[in-house]
């Protein structure tokens, strides 16, 4: 494996920066969502605490990639985030669906109107990314039994698929009232398929296609940022009543996940 350096930063430093930003957008949406629930369960503070630690560790890792304790801290924070995300998934499943009136009989309803089921798994995925980054910074060429580029491609494929499913169900709730709401179900789906293809049998040709799709996914993420901002502003009073409409409008940070995943894929393609 030959790692390239871009703007004097190695691939795992770039991944650490992307990790910090990706966890940042998750942090924001978890804060808004749990604040809306008035932090009814104390465990709703957990993603904020763990997210803060992951962001700090990732920033430190980007700035000091060769310091051993920083790498260890990043790995520990990563496992912590992974476990916290799984616990959150259990909470969202039980309290957001099972324990609600009619429970699983109204599964689709609660998928749309209950706590977003797959969202905590995004924290798990950021935790796993932290573990991958820590392994890379310590010089490992394999992670989770796969070569580093393959592992990152699989990571992008699986997490992007989860993000597409979550976006799909929530955009379905919004009745796809704007044609742009189909965007997360368009190119990113092809990106998932090509990511799997590249992971299975990488070649110059499919990596080029993968890179084009990743750039497109990145721009779709930024389009999502703008459209979600517009969605918030379409509410009564718009951003002049910011706190209320932030809680009622589309989640502002979520499109950032598409940007972050595209960034991870681009690092895998260009720098690893």
């Amino acid at each position: 494996m030959t790692s390239a350096v871009f703007l004097e930063l190695g691939p795992f430093q770039w991944l650490a920066i992307i990790l910090a930003m990706g966890t940042g957008v998750l942090f924001f949406d978890a804060l808004v969502g749990h604040y809306r629930h008035r932090f009814g369960y104390r465990l709703q503070y957990a993603p904020l605490a763990v997210g803060t630690l992951v962001i700090l560790a990732a920033v430190l890792a980007a700035a000091r990639p060769s310091v051993t304790w920083v790498i260890t801290a990043l790995e520990m924070c990563g496992w912590g985030a992974a476990v916290t995300g799984l616990v959150g998934f259990g909470y969202h499943w039980y309290y957001g669906i099972v324990k609600k009136p009619a429970g699983l009989a109204w599964f689709l309803h609660y998928l749309m109107y209950g706590a977003p089921l797959l969202f905590p798994l995004m924290l798990t995925s950021m935790g796993l990314l932290a573990v991958i980054v820590a392994a890379g910074l310590s010089g490992a060429r394999m992670v989770f039994g796969a070569p580093m580029p393959t592992a990152l491609c699989l990571f992008v494929a699986v997490v992007l698929l989860g993000s597409i499913l979550q976006a799909g169900i929530l955009h379905y709730r919004g009745a796809f009232n704007n044609p742009a709401m189909y965007l997360p179900l368009s190119i990113p789906v092809v990106t998932v398929a090509v990511a799997l293809w590249v992971a299975e049998s990488p070649s110059a040709a499919n990596e080029t296609v993968f890179a084009i799709l990743l750039w497109s996914t990145l721009l779709i993420g930024f389009t999502g940022f703008g459209m979600h901002l517009r969605g918030i502003d379409r509410q009564m009073g718009g951003l002049y009543v910011a706190l209320f409409n932030l809680m009622q409008g589309p989640p502002q940070g979520v499109p950032g996940i598409f940007v972050a995943l595209a960034g991870v894929g681009l690092v895998a393609v260009y720098l690893l």
Binding site: G221, L229, D233, L239, Y240
Partner: protein, 193 residues
Amino acid sequence: MEGDAPITTYRQVLSVAKLSAPLHPISVHFTVALLVTSVICDGMSFVFDVPSLSEAGWWTLVGCCLSTPLTLLTGLVSRMHLPMQESVARSFLRAHMALGPLVFGLLLVMTLWRAARWEEGQTVTLLYLVAVIGVSLVMTLQGYLGGELAYRYGADVKESYRELPGHPPQDQRPVLLSRPLARSERPEERSTS
């Protein structure tokens, strides 16, 4: 300061200095000007093969990309302080808000592309120039929408206007009345009489 008398002392200068200027219409000029400068420098470098212009093109694009988050942030802050009911102006505002993050995404992509060329010690290609001119056109549209808001509707800047001497106030904030207006006091009656 007494009325509209000319300013003659430094104390009067300080008293009219207003530091609460709307920041978004100011910061947006950095994004626009730096991108345009970058395109011009890179274009001239491509045509006339001048390495220093290529360097200028790269560093102005870096400045553009770094200043744009500030532009986005000040835009959000401006919107949060701007009451606006449903109207044509708000349609402009919504389009402006939707396009803003996309413009930043496009700038980010162009900066990474340009960085790769710069790091390899190469100047820009024709394809890059075509792409960055495309991004500039999107930026132009975004600037037009913002210009409509600021210059036609006075969004964000109107509250900072001072009235020229001899000109009656054009727009006054509505005030709560303690009693209903008499017929002769109503604006529509005054305009017809």
